[in-house]
Symmetry: C2
Subunit: 119 residues, 2 copies
DNA sequence: CATAGTATGTAGTATATAGTACACATAGAA
DNA sequence: TTCTATGTGTACTATATACTACATACTATG
């Protein structure tokens, strides 16, 4: 069950299509601004077909999915996140490596405390 | 004083060269495995010249600099850090955005507590 | 059954990324 | 002075990324 960007998008689009016929490949392609043949390639996992961050964000909005998740499935990290790390690389690169082995709930706890202004 | 990848590398290399003549552009280029003309372009900031992460790491080792800093100056994020974020994108992308406005000492404190196994 | 809409295959394009190869002019050391 | 090493300019290359354009075949519906 290796979820790829393509299979993930196709599955979600087909699901939405059951309720709403405007979720055909052609119509969705038009809404995000690419040719249908290209979205077709992407959904089928053509290794020479990629979307830019901008189009992935539009697609995420269309499908009601988290843009960061779709970007990740496409092998990308959001530009704004990259920029934050690039500005303080020693600090962030090391912190992320340290957080690597922590379970989700621990990372979430840190995130919550950060948001609550506990620091 | 906009520090670019090129100016940073050139400055550090020239500094090392004062003590050790093996830090000529040609010799360093040979050690990291690129043509001297190419390293020359890079040090002068040619916008069509880039090094791969691998060569940037070799260069960082040569110059005694932090690889993450050199990568950042080249507009890149280490592949291992990208991979960590890609595996848990909702969690990490959001945490990094939340940490954006925090001062270094606060981020450092979190990093220290994470390393000390406080979580 | 006609036809509108749908997915897909093939070919081509533009720009970015990551270099090599080689000639050239100059500065330093023997 | 001769030779060696140095930095740089120019031209060329290959692959990745991010698409368009168009033809074709299928599918569903009025």
């Amino acid at each position: 069950m290796t979820t790829t960007f393509g299979s993930f998008v196709r599955a979600k689009r087909e699901k939405l299509r059951k309720q709403d016929s405007s979720f055909s490949l052609r119509r969705v392609a038009a809404r995000i601004g690419v040719e249908p043949s290209y979205l077709s390639k992407i959904e089928r996992g053509d290794h020479k077909a990629y979307l830019t961050e901008e189009k992935i964000r539009l697609l995420a909005t269309e499908l009601g999915e988290d843009p960061d998740v779709l970007l990740a499935l496409s092998g990308k990290i959001s530009k704004d996140v990259q920029e934050i790390i690039r500005r303080r690389p020693e600090l962030f690169a090391q912190l992320i490596r340290d957080l690597k082995k922590m379970p989700d709930h621990a990372v979430l706890r840190i995130a919550r405390e950060v948001r609550d202004g506990k620091w």
